[in-house]
Amino acid sequence: MAIEKKELEPVQPTRKEQMLARFKEIEKKIAEKKVIGPAYGLAKGLSITLKTMTRRAVTQQYPHEVPDLPPRTRGVIALKEENCTVCMLCSRECPDWCIYIDSHKEQVPPKTPGARPRTRNMLDRFAIDFSLCMYCGICVEVCPFDALFWSPHFEYSETDINNLIHEMPTLAEWVNHVKPPPPLDEGAQPEPEADKEAKVFEAGGAVAAAPAASGAPAGTATTPAREAAPGPAAAGSAESTPAGEASAPAEAEAAAAKAEAPAEAKHDEGPVEIDEETYQAELAAGKPERVARAMAKKAFVIKRRKQG
């Protein structure tokens, strides 16, 4: 099957002039170098490397010098477990099926005496298998209650792949590394919900300071996705969030009413401290300090919930 060779028109006539001009430029370039001499290029190269040698090196000495990563960096996924309502959205939207959630329903005594007791979902297990995770951020994006955050933290390598399944205490621990979202570009459209989200962020105590307000408000990370989130999920979450609950998501909803928010935060969501008992017990059990601290924090939150 021999091919009949025929010349095809390689270039569109409209661009022919442009091409010719380009060719001339190449020829000129080549000619220029010829004039200067055959060793011009060799000498030029030497001068470039020598010049670079006199400049400062760009290396960052990593372990001694910690990189300053931007807030949006997808380093690791942090979980603010108080905010999780076990809506399962993240687990279902995950392309890698790497988020495992266990939960149970619990009867919660009514807030006002005489009202009906409510049931709510209690999170038993929230684990992310980082050996499967592809760091796409869809879970963070779909989370309707801001329980998941991206943290720029990246130093969690393990020597055994099984250790990359990180459970709730560790995920909660990483919330400490979350940075506030950066202020948006001047041309960005202000998000109507952004104010509220910034509040949620503050209330969580994840970071000391929310972004300096300055015109454009922060925290649009989840907004577009929320609009696009499938209907049933949104409905489901509404069901699982009984009104008047002192839970974090409810607080998020209520945060619009500005006066209430701080009061409630005081009631339930103060700064997370360490439960000394658990901490010592965990340490004695030979757990790493980091894990022990996380477990202790968890114990503290659970205790506080029981008291409250």
Partner: protein, 162 residues
């Protein structure tokens, strides 16, 4: 050459076009029978008016009961026109004449399509596995071929919060 002019021209010149298709986005598809596959392709390649000198890609789509739709995407660098040449072959024993004699680049694409769908390319001089390992059994892109990663693992999202 506009899409319409091209379709008319090919229809007239070869008489082998079963049906044409222009999508709302303006993309052109010519449907032919497997027997006319090579004839139409040769016309598109050789006719100076068409001059589809670029073989862009070739693949297939599993149409379930209808069989497989084989698509060759051709492009003309002179008229900046693209055309999808399509034909339908049965699920089992489907065969299409090879285009390797017209465009050298067709070889790899046909080998890939052969291993992925099990469509034979009659006359291909070197029809062996390309991307898959030699001992691999099955045609992965057929719909009946299950994706093991989705079968072997339980979907964690299947749970309802209880």
């Amino acid at each position: 050459m506009s899409a319409k002019a091209l379709i008319d021209h090919v229809k007239e010149a070869t008489g082998a076009v079963e049906r044409e298709e222009v999508t709302p986005q303006g993309q052109v598809a010519l449907h032919v029978t497997p027997a006319n596959w090579h004839v139409v392709a040769e016309h598109l390649r050789r006719c100076p008016r068409c001059n589809f000198s670029m073989f862009n890609w070739l693949s297939a789509v599993d149409m379930e009961d209808d069989g497989f739709e084989v698509i060759a995407h051709l492009y003309s660098a002179s008229s900046l026109q693209a055309v999808n040449l399509k034909t339908m072959v049965p699920r089992e024993g489907g065969s299409v004449p090879t285009l390797t004699g017209l465009w050298r680049g067709a070889s790899f694409h046909e080998r890939e399509c052969w291993e992925m769908f099990g469509i034979d390319f009659a006359g291909h001089p070197h029809l062996v596995k390309l991307l898959l390992a030699e001992p691999f059994v099955g045609n992965p892109l057929r719909k009946e071929f299950v994706l093991m990663t989705r079968e072997a693992k339980e979907w964690p999202g299947a749970k309802e919060p209880e």
